[in-house]
Symmetry: C2
């Protein structure tokens, strides 16, 4: 069964680590968000793609869910102390090696897709990891105090503190999909929306030219990133109101209306099932908090079961 997963960072990577245990990785394509990408000290950094590669490749810092295990910070310390460079964005030494591979390939004229494929190969991922676009597509945050910040400047640099007026995805909207993305989606037996932030992780992917359109012709199943009316991690609670969406399992499902066929929600949100079903979306209720590999694997199975039911429905 050909699957495509749309993925952000930490939540997606954790979910995918369950998914690859219950499906054939060579049948899977993961399309990663690059709205968070930034260039810092000349290094092209793709935080979400790297979180997927490090997590699925077994090199992630398990405690924080991003960055490298057993990381050191010699380069960052020198950049700060000797060269007075700002260190608002953590750059570990091992992590920098990844950014150097990516940045040097880009400088040699390779695409972000090619660099990502090389990194995926070196981490022995087994599935295809593809950026949503090869073009720059930075998500920008318009703050209530009138500034426009790169997503990372707001999220990491200002700890997501300034109130959000608007999430600007215009760069994603102007971007072409990376080679193979549309073909993979069109050929997929099902598309999975990982439990990632719907506004700044899945949102930018959906905005890339042609992606939302192709989704309406394919069974789409998502995992709700909301548990008990709250975000599991991250800052969807700061961002959802900014796009006029209720912070709930039903609110996020509504954000995906038009193409969402199945929605996996947490047991704590079972009360929302009826409202979601009323919108024509099949619902599965299970434990979505991925505390252990077993829970994560069970969640992935629930997703695949829902896919099977939808395909049985003829969707």
């Amino acid at each position: 069964m050909l699957l495509v997963a749309l993925a952000g960072g930490i939540g997606a990577a954790r979910f995918l680590s369950g998914l690859v245990r219950v499906t054939e990785p060579t049948q899977l394509t993961v399309v990663g968000n690059t709205g968070d990408d930034l260039v810092l000290n000349g290094l092209h950094i793709s935080p979400d793609l790297d979180t997927v590669a490090y997590t699925l490749g077994g090199g992630v810092h398990a405690g924080q869910g991003w960055g490298r295990a057993e990381e050191t910070f010699a380069v960052a310390s020198e950049l700060r102390e000797r060269y007075g460079r700002s260190d608002w964005f953590a750059l570990g030494d091992r992590d920098i090696a990844t950014h150097l591979v990516r940045s040097s390939m880009l400088a040699e004229g390779h695409s972000l897709s090619s660099a990502t494929a090389e990194i995926a190969r070196r981490w022995h991922l087994g599935f295809a990891l593809v950026p949503m676009t090869d073009e720059a597509a930075p998500t920008r945050i318009r703050t209530a105090d009138g500034r426009t910040l790169h997503f990372q400047e707001w999220w990491v640099g200002e700890r997501a503190e300034p109130a959000v007026e608007q999430v600007d995805l215009s760069a994603a909207r102007a971007a072409s999909p990376a080679p193979g993305v549309i073909d993979a989606l069109a050929a997929a037996d099902a598309v999975i929306l990982c439990p990632s932030n719907p506004v700044v992780s899945i949102g930018p992917i959906l905005e890339v030219e042609g992606i939302r359109a192709v989704l309406s012709g394919v069974p789409v199943v998502g995992v709700s990133p909301i548990v008990g009316g709250q975000v599991v991690r991250g800052m969807a609670d700061r961002l959802l109101p900014g796009v006029g969406v209720e912070v709930s399992a039903a609110g996020v499902a509504r954000l995906y209306s038009g193409f969402l066929d199945g929605w996996v929600i947490d047991s704590q949100d079972a009360g929302h099932a009826e409202a979601i079903v009323a919108e024509g979306v099949r619902v599965a209720v299970t434990d979505t908090i991925m505390r252990t590999p077993e829970v994560t694997e069970a969640l992935a199975r629930t997703v695949l079961d829902l896919v099977a039911k939808l395909r049985g429905d003829g969707r």
Copy 2:
């Protein structure tokens, strides 16, 4: 007294550390060789400029004479082990911070001169450090077995083992001098040739457009890099025959004929003094092996004394 020093790496840096103790650094401009520069993993590396900055800034690995003190190699180890990148050229973590500053400034459209000035400022050098050119000017080695290698591929990558057929400085010959280089040379009260390799360190600088020409109008004093008929360090013994020059204090002086006015040679080479004087070059004989700061400072004083005599001569 306005001085300009033409400099390679280790020998030049050591000599300059003596020179700045006996003259006013703000009156000094150091023009560095960039024929050794290379781009590796997307990083623009300027080995000679960095050796000068690290040595004069107090951050050099004293034992090896290049690279950073208390260096670590986390990035290089990851590049090698995870990404299969060749590690023929040592890249330490602290060193990489310097290369990131340089490379990111270049990527932002700054010149190599500007990046070098920023690095010099951060190392509190006190004198002006200027690359010979802002353009790429790689020295190439034509080997006896018919290959053309970047200087660093031959020198570091193949440990200078392949016999040299020709040293190709055509890239330097096609390069324009960096802004300020010709003006500094023309305004100088004297130009000093540091005890650097005459073929691959001083040689490329001399080839850059307009530099050799301006030298004939200024008193030029050099320190011989040959002691007792041998090179103190490096591989001039492999390279001098390749350009048809005798490995001796007199042979190198002859290589500089046409603009050399004074030549400081080692006591062990005193026997060559007569031959050099016969060519119209003033000679000073002293201890040129810079074992201690005191010897180095005395050598610098000898150079300045020779400059004073030449200016007394009206040269």
